[in-house]
């Protein structure tokens, strides 16, 4: 049994009897630059697939003070794309571990999960970011991060994607880290994003 560590809203063990879609790939099989294009395509596919399940009239809410509705195709595409981008950017490809994106449609929520591997440094940085998220007001953090990014030109990971999921799409985020190799340590990290429907 692997040692595991959980943060945020993580649902361990989703019901089996739900609609789901899973896409798996090996990030190292083709160069990242070529692979990048598939993020948008996969995200589009997931979003189109889901549209079938949203039936009935939709309320168009033009008020920017409310989050972006879950049934807008953009919400699903945005989240799927961000998760795929992150998995590729931060994947530790020294291990032949498949990156997977899973998408579950439960009775009252949509759940996205991405699994990829990271090394110890990556994990430590990630946990530090998650702890900041848990302690600060996400919206303030979002605006603060935008201001900070404008100050420096570095392309370091800012967490803006996660913050926009929380602030703009009312998403709940959770993570599970599992130690899969000890020397040197490698972790499989599952990022879970859920949207209430």
């Amino acid at each position: 049994m692997a040692e595991s560590e959980i943060h945020g809203h993580f649902i361990d063990g989703l019901p089996r009897e739900v609609e789901y879609l899973m896409i798996g790939f090996s990030p190292s099989s083709i160069p990242l630059k070529q692979r990048w294009r598939t993020n948008g395509l996969s995200a589009d596919f997931i979003a189109d697939y889901l549209q079938t399940f949203f039936v009935g009239p939709r309320e168009d809410r033009a008020n920017g003070d409310v989050p972006i509705p879950v049934d807008s195709k953009n919400a699903v595409k945005y989240i799927a794309n961000e998760l795929l981008e992150n998995a590729m950017k931060f994947h530790d490809d020294t291990h032949h571990y498949q990156t997977k994106i899973m998408f579950h449609l439960c009775r009252d929520k949509l759940v996205f999960q991405v699994v990829n591997t990271i090394d110890q440094t990556g994990k430590d940085k990630f946990v530090k970011f998650i702890q900041t998220l848990e302690h600060d007001d996400p919206y303030e953090l979002y605006i603060r991060q935008m201001e900070a990014n404008a100050q420096n030109d570095g392309s370091s990971h800012s967490g803006l994607g996660f913050l926009s999921m929380i602030c703009d799409y009312s998403a709940n985020l959770g993570w599970k880290f599992e130690l899969i190799a000890k020397e040197p340590p490698v972790y499989a990290v599952t990022t879970m994003v859920s949207l209430d429907v």
Partner: protein
């Protein structure tokens, strides 16, 4: 000034003082977004009073793209002399939300929803 690729087009029209973005912005980070940011910033430098950013035909924007537009808006805000109007469609929720977020960063930004 113009950047055209298979996925998007960014075009600056000096006569109408407008930068128009179309298509999907799905680039992988600040480095790849640099030419777009540069085009936006040079358009802002060339205009004395007003500039319009037309995002109506922008279909998709990833978080690095949000970051790019944010940097541009903060740059315009810090100059303090340019009136910036951003156009979006009111029936596209993510555009409305984006415009509101940009306005929070620059309260004088004029948000025009159609």
């Amino acid at each position: 000034m113009e950047i055209t690729t298979e996925d998007y087009r960014v075009h600056y029209d000096p006569e109408n003082a407008t930068v128009t973005c179309r298509g999907s912005f799905l680039l992988s980070g600040s480095e790849e977004y640099a030419p777009i940011l540069q085009l936006l910033n040079s358009a802002a430098e060339q205009q004395v009073n007003k500039l319009t950013l037309d995002l109506r035909e922008l279909e998709f924007l990833n978080s690095s793209g949000i970051n790019t537009l944010t940097k541009f808006v903060i740059n315009v805000r810090n100059r303090q002399n340019l009136e910036l109007t951003v156009l979006g469609y009111e029936n596209i929720p993510w555009q409305v939300r984006l415009l509101k977020n940009l306005q929070r960063l620059m309260p004088s930004l004029v948000m025009q929803l159609e």
